[in-house]
């Protein structure tokens, strides 16, 4: 318990004496520590007597009006805290101001075990897959880099093969900067262009179609770049050149 400075102590005692003199009742005064009518205990005797009176009358403990959902109430000043400690009101918090109180209950499950078990299984699966794949298939390592000798064909990694395909059709600035820039830019602002509030696919046919076409566009370009481009980056059929002519495995 904190020490009350002397001058504040005297001030509260004077105020208490005045209040007791003015009204015959202590009223809503918040209990300060060590008032003048205490015996060195934490509960002021006047308040203790009052609560005992009320218990004798069979009345309820004094609770301020306005107790509704989420309102923090002042602890009854009859020293109901553990060890007789009383509490000081700091602030009243309205419901909904800090936590969002939902109007209807949402069906929720515990993250442990349900979500974490699913995540663990997924992580385990992907680790096992990567491990087994890595045991059997080696990452490529060709000859030492030689700026004077260009491999034929020379391909970017698969996620950039779409761009490399575009290079065969457009000027490098268009293929490498303009088109990817526009695609990424449009993708980034898609939420601000989409005014449809529905999440259901049947209500979003246009967006779903556009997105599917977009994905298929890149998928087709990557597939052509991976399997249908041989020496000289010329169009070939994979069964003509064989996989060794296409990949560097």
């Amino acid at each position: 318990m904190t020490e009350i400075p002397d001058h504040l102590l005297k001030r509260s005692q004077a105020a208490r004496a005045k209040a007791q003199g003015a009204a015959g009742d202590v009223g809503d005064e918040t209990p300060a520590a060590a008032p003048s009518d205490d015996d060195g205990e934490t509960i002021p005797r006047s308040l203790l007597e009052r609560s005992q009176q009320q218990k004798a009358e069979g009345g309820a403990a004094p609770v301020p009006a306005g107790g509704g959902g989420g309102v923090a109430t002042l602890a009854p000043p009859a020293g109901t805290g553990p060890g007789g400690h009383t509490q000081r009101l700091l602030t009243v918090i309205r419901s909904g101001s800090i936590q969002d109180v939902k109007s209807k209950p949402v069906d929720k499950v515990h993250v442990w075990p349900h979500l974490l078990a699913a995540e663990f299984t997924a992580a385990l699966f992907i680790t096992a897959f990567t491990l087994i794949f890595s045991i059997f298939i080696n990452a490529p390592l060709l000859e030492l880099a030689n700026p004077t000798v260009t491999p034929n064909p020379s391909k970017a990694p698969w996620y950039f093969l779409g761009l490399q395909e575009l290079l065969t059709m457009f000027h490098p600035m268009i293929a490498g900067v303009t088109i990817p820039g526009i695609v990424l830019g449009l993708a980034a602002i898609a939420p601000y262009l989409d005014k449809n509030p529905s999440h259901k696919p049947e209500d979003r046919k246009f967006m779903v179609s556009i997105w599917t076409i977009h994905l298929m566009f890149w998928a087709v370009l990557v597939i052509i770049g991976s399997f249908f481009r041989g020496p000289g980056f010329n169009f070939t059929f994979p069964w003509e050149t064989g996989l060794h002519g296409i990949f560097h495995l």
């Binding site: 992907i126 298939i137 390592l141 060709l142 030492l144 990694p157 999440h199």
Partner: protein, 264 residues
């Protein structure tokens, strides 16, 4: 209740079982154990399954409290998200771990890089396996990030209030592609050199300051040992650092925007 209690010497397996149980009890009663595993941990003695303890497991774990204590029921459905976002993050962790292993054996100079990778394959215990896991893990991460983006779009999970999180996700996609591309150069073999030549030449066609862009990327006029060092630092330090910052924002916004969207 039996009138007589049959007394016989316990079998060996029973004695081992009781002995193990006693040993476990001793460990779980120790001060050291209880200082590590706080109340609510499943490793604490007397852990029982209850809603309160299920909440404690999340709240008292530095790793798990990325998650809320409860999520909406449909969020647990694997068929809804396919765990793609979580898998992308997990693959990032896997790549970081395998990457750190590789860093012990790799020098980012034109003279040493290829030899170091070759040495990894031949002379380092598990070197080939770890390098393979790093390589294929990287491809998997790019794939899973793309699939995650597709899933989010198909669910319309970028709509209000999640618009900004979608933008952060696009930034993360770009960072993932850049990470993959910078890593591609590091073996310093023919595949690396020429893939990067194609890529940086395309970037050099940026309007207005294309030449400067290319110079900043390469560290010199042509791809050289300066490029290798620069892309090594990008791959190992700068890009992962920036990625982690955006990941933090991404996860934060998922929580703040109300968790997984839906159901449809």
């Amino acid at each position: 209740m039996a009138k007589t209690i049959e007394k016989r010497k316990p079998r060996l397996t029973e004695r081992i079982g009781t002995g193990l149980g006693n040993a476990v009890d001793k460990v779980q009663d120790s001060q050291a154990w209880n200082s590590i595993f706080r109340p609510g941990s499943i490793f604490r003695k007397g852990y029982t399954d209850s809603p309160r303890n299920r909440s404690y497991v999340i709240m008292n774990s530095v790793l798990y409290h990325l998650h809320p204590v409860k999520v909406k029921r449909h969020a647990v459905k694997v068929s809804y998200t396919l765990c793609l976002g979580g898998l992308s993050f997990f693959l990032f962790i896997l790549l970081t771990v395998t990457g750190i292993f590789l860093m012990f054996f790799y020098r980012p100079t034109a003279a040493a890089a290829w030899d170091d990778i070759n040495t990894l394959h031949t002379s380092v215990a598990f070197g080939l396996l770890v390098r393979n896991m790093h390589r294929w893990g990287a491809h998997l991460m790019v794939l899973s990030v793309f699939l995650h983006m597709a899933r989010v779009f198909y669910h319309g999970a970028y709509k209000a209030p999640r618009e900004f999180n979608w933008v952060v996700g696009i930034i993360l996609l770009t960072l993932t592609l850049l990470l993959s591309f910078t890593g591609y150069l590091l073996p310093w073999d023919q595949l690396a050199l020429w893939a990067v030549t194609v890529g940086t030449n395309m970037m050099g066609y940026t309007p207005v300051f294309g030449d400067q862009v290319r110079f900043v990327l390469l560290g010199s006029r042509e791809i050289s040992t300066d490029t290798l060092l620069r892309w090594y630092v990008l791959h190992v330090l700068l890009l992962p650092f920036v990625l982690v910052i955006f990941l933090a924002v991404h996860f934060w916004r998922v929580r703040k925007d109300g968790g997984i969207s839906g159901p449809l």
